[in-house]
Assembly symmetry: C2
Homo-oligomer: 215 residues x 2
């Protein structure tokens, strides 16, 4: 293995994160706006280079902090993107991740050394993205929909305790369709994704809602 061989020198490993939230019934993704070339002024998903002393999970964590100021976010790998020309800078592959958080419980930086803006965008109103991030975003949504009933993937979208209507609305927003309330409750309880806490919500204006938690 000769690391100077032109066939495979100057390769780069990047990590990319599609970070989602649901706010007021709207399914949104977090985007950052680039400050420099390439793709200056374009919006893209959170991401950056993997350093030589990190595995890709650690790189994703660091990049998230550097580019957005966020930390303690859970995410999971879902795909790899490797078309030879996907980056104009050098040959670069991207390890793609997916995460879901409550946008109201997290602060983010509007500007960093490499970004000039950052915000949550409704999935139905996404601008044209830099690199191949439009494709990555599409795949990540598909992946999320497929996994949403298999695990507590929405765990960070809610505080410790939450009501059934809350989580029901989130599922409907993400899947973009109506789900029967009774069946929804049974499904999450049976699969042991959520559990009844015995507590009820302080009040809201109508009948008090019971509080649930993730298990």
């Amino acid at each position: 293995m000769d690391i100077k061989n032109p066939l495979y020198k100057n390769q780069g490993i990047h990590v990319v994160l599609a970070l989602f939230t649901v706010e007021n019934g709207k399914f949104k993704v977090f985007l950052i706006q680039r400050k420099n070339e390439p793709f200056k002024d374009k919006w893209i998903l959170i991401g950056g280079a993997c350093y030589n002393n990190e595995d890709v999970d650690s790189a994703m964590k660091r990049e998230l902090l550097e580019k957005t100021g966020m930390k303690d976010i859970h995410f999971q790998m879902f795909n790899v993107y490797s078309k030879p020309d996907r980056s104009p800078v050098c040959r670069m592959i991207a390890i793609a991740y997916l995460g879901v958080i409550d946008c109201n419980r997290v602060k983010y930086l509007k500007e960093t050394t490499k970004t000039q803006d950052a915000d949550w965008f409704e999935i139905s109103h996404i601008p044209e993205l830099g690199y191949d991030h439009t494709e990555i975003l599409g795949d990540s949504i598909e992946f999320l929909k497929k996994k949403i009933f298999d695990s507590a993937i929405l765990k960070d979208l809610f505080p410790k305790y939450f009501t059934l209507p809350d989580i029901h609305n989130a599922y409907e927003s993400i899947l973009n369709k109506k789900i029967d309330r009774r069946n929804f409750r049974k499904r999450l309880l049976q699969k042991n994704i959520i559990a009844d806490t015995g507590m009820v919500q302080e009040v809201a204006g109508k009948k008090p809602a019971k509080l649930y938690k993730f298990v």
Copy 2:
């Protein structure tokens, strides 16, 4: 992005394939023996560098041909390995693939420029592997077991037509447990993974077996 930055220069992208077969009821994986350092004389999974003009799928195809002489093999990505020290040569991540073929329908090279030997090894008798390939192999077996009833992942393990006892034995070997014949048949038929052809096997010595095909 400065490709000379020591934080992320000299990175490499590798592809690795766990190629399986079942022969005479034995679940086996294909290994190659290294000719050079590092890990000289060690057995490892099929793999090598991804070139700058290829995506990772193409690289896997080419490496398979170069290291074993095999082609027209289907495989699918299942994980990424990225510990910083997983290769002593340079910082190298591995995109890991999984495939299953009929070992009797494929020729392979015993020696190439980089390998001094190659063979099928029973899963229960695997030598110590180079790099982190023992871990990769373990993960690939787990992945295969999880997906085996979800798709025609064993398609290349059989000729165009095959009998139910044949495929039943293969499943039992891979999963390493007994499966009820009747339920097995119903499951594969209902999921539309295999279909009855109406033909029967030429003869074998006992009652003729019906022939099935993948859909």
